[in-house]
Symmetry: C2
Subunit: 345 residues, 2 copies
DNA sequence: TTGTATGCGTTATCAG
DNA sequence: CTGATAACGCATACAA
């Protein structure tokens, strides 16, 4: 292995000078810099990141904590998108990502978790979907401030914690409104004075988890709309489970006019249940996953760019590690429908 | 940060003794060992893997090279399974996995790739799906023997390279045979003497990539069956693309009795095309991905345990790094059909 | 069985 | 602007 020492010898300078060139320190004469670079080129020198990390005490290492296969979900499309976005951006920034699954952490206490990350020389965490109820050890670790943390889809900003998410309340409001308007040619209460068609719509809203942050925001969005449009809203927690959504649909859909779900997966579960029940009800989803293209029917949904979100999270982790304070970042969303042919081409 | 030195002081022994305890060296008195462990416990000492790696020159680090989003595939279920299997096993074995996407490497030469892995202190590679045509730089790197490599679904065993895969030829033969037998109540040529129903079946076989190893094996399997059962086989390369399979189906399916695909994704493409064409033909897939549950119709397919395969690959990488020679490992497969309700529950 | 000493490849401090 | 040199935390011959 060719080391910095060999480069120094070849270039006829001191080791420390080479190091300075490597890390683009300011005070190096251009000529020296060039000589060093030439030597690096000639010897095919590759800086050893491990030695660098040991010496500088900065590993640039971030753990991406993913929630995979929860609720027996069939397809882990969203975590995959997060991964791709994060890893690609990390490479661009010269950061180092290790992937960790929540399931691997679930049986650790906060202390053990800390040791694990510490032994891995992790400086920052990117946590996708945190539940204050279920992940108390992880929550504790984050609050301890021992690691710089970026929370995706969870609240909690402080000195070393940033939060990044879409405006879930607004998105749920918007998509549901568009969905209902297009499905029934409805108008909001304000305009209803004219009184064209005025049947109150009965909606089954399949929410996420009780006490979940995202679920709560989305719930507020739909409630706001219900008030505005005068909807009859039946709310049930689907726990983000396709199967649960299926059951709820079978139980309640017959007496409802439409079904709105807090996730695409649940929307698919509802959709398939309706087919098996042999009745038709419009269904609205949330997330914009490609799997929607396979569900058989186009549904309204909220599209989010998971890759980009993860890329931002990586940048933000870099910022935090660099010493800047945590903050909140709102990502954009859009209303869309997903067609099979768009997905595959 | 509490270091090995603090532990040594606390336990009243030398640093090297602590190190020996840490790495369970043989020659340490039980009493000493206990004293050290007590000190470790008391101080909450966590060994620094970076320092350890630098000193021992062994990082235990493996790069998992994944092929994601090729051919505009909709859902990256298989790479995700590989990841989960690999990361979980790596944690159990105390190894360290970094995930790399082929797309990140595609614009590097072999030299640059080597430097990249080297700078990351990678000792071993686990490569999922290698194409000797498209990935020539990567192939070169592997053949150079610079890194211990485990190939998933690609051939090539040597001193520092192992290969792990199912018996693709046999699996394709078996699944197609079962599929045809059940779809048409057919019998093989041998038994046809009795001559109950004897129409020669016209089959559209949508293969993978030309020159791909896996594709070649599967192709041989179907050809073997065709000969045995006296099938009329039309072979077209679908490039593992759902869209391509759709096109081929639209072009040829009308005059065929059944469609057999070298992957589930292509089978889904074919299936959806048939629905749009409004004709029915039985379709057979290969892989056993959950997405099949969403396709609308149950199809015959070959099930493989991707997680387990990846776990084996990690172990194998460990073996190679440990100095043992490469070898070939055949994983089991099974014939199955995937139902939506099984997938979601 | 235990301790001493050296080195791994960097970075960073400080003197020149 | 450049060069010595001391860490960084651990592993490992080798001496005791």
């Amino acid at each position: 292995m060719v080391s910095i020492r060999d480069v120094a010898k070849e270039a006829g300078v001191a080791i420390s000078t080479v190091s300075k060139v490597l890390n683009n320190y300011p005070n190096v004469r251009d000529e020296t810099k060039e000589r060093v670079n030439r030597a690096i080129e000639q010897l095919g020198f590759v800086p050893n990141s491990i030695a660098s990390a040991l010496s500088s005490k900065r590993s640039g290492r971030v753990a991406l904590v993913l929630d995979v296969n929860r609720n027996a979900q069939a397809v882990d499309e969203i975590p995959m998108q997060y991964m791709i976005g994060a890893i690609n951006r990390a490479k661009e920034l010269g950061m180092d990502i290790i992937t960790v699954f929540k399931a691997m952490l679930s049986d650790m206490g906060a202390e053990e978790m800390m040791r694990y990350f510490q032994s891995q020389s992790v400086e920052g965490l990117i946590v996708c979907s945190l539940s204050s109820k279920e992940d108390d050890a992880l929550c504790g670790l984050i609050k301890s401030g021992k690691f710089k943390t970026v929370l995706i889809n969870a609240p909690g900003v402080d000195e070393n914690t940033s939060s990044i998410h879409i405006d879930n309340r607004k998105a749920q409001y918007e998509v549901a409104k568009k969905f209902l308007t297009e499905s029934f040619a409805m108008e909001s209460t304000a305009a209803r004075g004219a009184g064209v068609q005025n049947t109150v719509k009965r909606i089954l809203y399949i929410a996420g988890k009780k006490e979940g942050y995202v679920s709560g925001e989305r719930l507020r969005g739909i409630q706001e709309l219900a008030q505005e449009m005068g909807l009859m809203l039946l709310i049930r927690a689907g726990n983000f489970s396709e199967l649960e959504a299926r059951k709820l649909t079978m139980q309640y859909a017959a007496h409802k006019d439409a079904i709105i779900c807090a996730s695409d997966l649940m929307a698919i579960g509802a959709m398939k249940a309706l087919i098996d029940m042999d009745i038709y009800r419009p269904v609205c989803g949330f997330d914009g996953v490609n799997l929607m293209g396979y569900a058989g029917k186009q549904m309204h949904t909220v599209g989010q760019d998971f890759k980009r979100t993860a890329a931002c999270a990586v940048e933000e982790a870099g910022r935090l590690i660099g010493g800047e304070a945590g903050r909140e970042i709102i990502m954009p969303h859009k209303l869309m429908r997903i067609k099979y042919l768009d997905v595959i081409s």
